[in-house]
């Protein structure tokens, strides 16, 4: 009697969340895989089965490789700078007690509250060659000349790193601070007695102590920056000049809605999400060992 009550309860409570999540989030990904074997314009009811044609196209599409390269470049450079800065900030915040610390922490975290759209519009203005903040700032130091960083194919990708770093450093800093605070203080004290300096302490105590957090946050960082890249590129450059800042996420979207190639778009989306899902699960599975 008691058990059946419990079973009814569990089922009634799980059914609505599971259906909502499965229908509106999981099913689209699975359906994407199915539609990727068709040629479909999106709005018309006619779908033509084309087998592996979309995938064959994917592996020979030089634009796809270009966008993949741009995406990976953005991820690598952005994560390297963001994680280094966040780590340096976190170490300083946890080892020094300046009176302005808590105020600075609130300021540093703030950009993460903004929409990627707002951040992108803001940085478009910062980079504006005519009245942008950056050129104005540089001219204070005598660097004249209106460099349009977003309009040149050689600088555009590097220029797109800054907005994401600006937005995300504070967020990861806060995570690292919390993680560093869980390391027992005695470890640092005995290291000091043994004569270990700041750098030595950082390498042998801090890094191993927060290794779990670094791995987990890296996975979330990876996934968040791929999603963010869509709004960032669309709003700042639209992928230009001549696709030099086009990323996989914008190319995928463009194939569907501008070129009416839903099947091909879904092949791109499916391959990239699957690769990222496997990569992320492997890291999570590997780090789970430490959890137990």
């Amino acid at each position: 009697m008691k058990k059946t009550h419990e079973r009814t309860f569990v089922i009634t409570f799980l059914i609505a969340p599971v259906i909502t999540y499965s229908l509106f989030y999981v099913y689209p990904f699975i359906n994407a895989f199915r539609i990727s074997f068709y040629r479909w314009s999106g709005l018309s009811p006619r779908m033509t089965f084309v087998g592996l044609a979309n995938y064959r196209r994917l592996f020979t599409d030089s634009i796809f490789y270009q966008t993949l390269y741009n995406q990976i470049f953005l991820i690598m450079v952005t994560s390297l700078i963001t994680f280094s800065l966040a780590m340096i900030f976190a170490v300083i915040f946890t080892s020094k007690t300046y009176p302005e610390n808590s105020f600075l922490r609130v300021i540093f975290f703030f950009p993460n509250m903004l929409s990627m759209v707002v951040v992108s519009i803001l940085w478009k203005f910062i980079y504006n060659p005519h009245f942008g903040l950056l050129n104005g700032f540089l001219s204070l130091f005598g660097f004249e000349g209106n460099t349009a960083l977003l309009a040149s194919s050689s600088t555009v990708l590097a220029a797109l790193v800054a907005p994401q770093v600006w937005m995300l450093v504070g967020f990861y800093m806060v995570l690292f601070i919390a993680s560093i605070n869980t390391i027992p203080v005695e470890l640092y004290e005995s290291a000091k007695i043994d004569g270990a300096g700041m750098v030595r302490q950082f390498i042998s105590i801090t890094i191993p102590g927060i290794w779990y957090t670094i791995q987990i946050t890296f996975v979330f960082f990876l996934i968040a920056t791929v999603s963010n890249s869509f709004a960032l590129v669309r709003v700042t450059t639209g992928g230009g000049p001549s696709r030099s800042s086009e990323v996989v996420t914008t190319y995928f979207y463009q194939q569907a809605f501008d070129n009416s190639n839903f099947g091909y778009a879904l092949a791109i989306g499916f391959v990239v999400s699957l690769v990222m899902f496997i990569f992320a699960s492997l890291i999570m599975k590997y780090t789970k060992r430490d959890l137990a």
Binding site: F29, N31, I107, F109, V118, V174, T249
Partner: protein, 280 residues
């Protein structure tokens, strides 16, 4: 003595650098704020200068002529709808999964959390097809359901942590008093998990208030669009019409609710983040 002085110097350098970094965040914000009060002519002639007088019309025009008022209302409808629905569904799921032992309880938890490992932006195109077939394209309810689906993994992930940490024998004690499973959930567990519910709701509010790719896909009719979509439209039209004041006023309007929430809940946000991501 010399050693002391050297330490002091490195402290000064660090503090100056930190101060400079904070300026990189604060200055653009202040610039947006005062530029929102300038006329287009002032903006073009002296983009850095303070406004000669405060042009409040920029806000009036942004709200009415540039439709920001309408976008704002749409954003309120969609965001509040998804926050409430996600809170309900996520607390139900995370409670059963974390406090009841049944076949598949841990598989269900893993199933929800797997959603965290895929970039959400790739759901847009297949979601378009799904909502089209369900006649939910260009509806707020369609976007609310889509947002709820993608917000569940994070929300369940955080709430499981909160429910797990509640005292072990609460249910059996209440059971002895004759309370049903439903009563226990609504009148004992939910109030106890309130900090978790608040944290999850604030994050969902902030993230989905700001969301762009899914809204772009689901809402194509102008009258239904949310603020981030409206801002992008405003950027495009203002560039041609050179009505910069309206654009900056629009950016400020988008940011106001976010800043209010941030000021009110900043401590909670920062500590709430840590419960999920840091090893206990």
């Amino acid at each position: 003595m010399l050693f002391r002085k050297k330490l002091f110097l490195s402290d000064v350098i660090i503090r100056v650098l930190f101060f400079l970094y904070s300026l990189i965040i604060i200055l653009p914000m202040i610039w947006i704020l005062y530029t929102s009060f300038k006329t287009p002519r002032e903006f073009l002639h002296a983009p850095w200068a303070l406004p000669e007088r405060l042009v409040w019309e920029n806000y009036y025009n942004a709200w009415f002529s540039a439709n920001i008022g309408n976008y704002f209302l749409n954003s309120v409808i969609v965001t509040s709808g998804m926050v409430v629905l996600t809170l309900l569904l996520a607390s139900m799921a995370s409670y059963t999964v974390s406090r009841y032992k049944f076949i598949g309880s841990s598989a269900a938890a893993t199933y929800f959390m797997a959603g965290l490992l895929v970039p959400k932006v790739f759901v847009t195109v297949p979601l378009f097809q799904l909502l089209l077939s369900m006649n939910l394209l260009n509806t707020h309810i369609g976007l609310i359901l889509a947002y709820t689906g993608m917000a569940l993994p994070f929300s369940v992930f955080v709430l499981i942590g909160f429910f797990q940490n509640l005292p072990k024998d609460l249910e059996s004690a209440a059971m002895v008093d004759g309370a049903s499973h439903y009563r226990i959930f609504f009148s004992i567990m939910l109030p106890l998990a309130r900090p978790g519910l608040v944290t999850v709701s604030i994050f969902n509010f902030l993230w989905y208030w700001n969301e762009y790719p899914t809204a772009l896909t689901v809402l194509q009719r102008e009258s239904l669009k949310t603020l981030p979509l409206g801002l992008v439209i405003l950027t495009e039209t203002q560039e041609r019409a050179a009505e910069w004041g309206q654009l900056f006023a629009g950016i400020i309007i988008v940011m106001i609710p976010v800043v209010v929430i941030y000021i009110l809940f900043q401590r909670m946000l920062i500590s709430g983040l840590n419960t999920g991501a840091v090893k206990e």
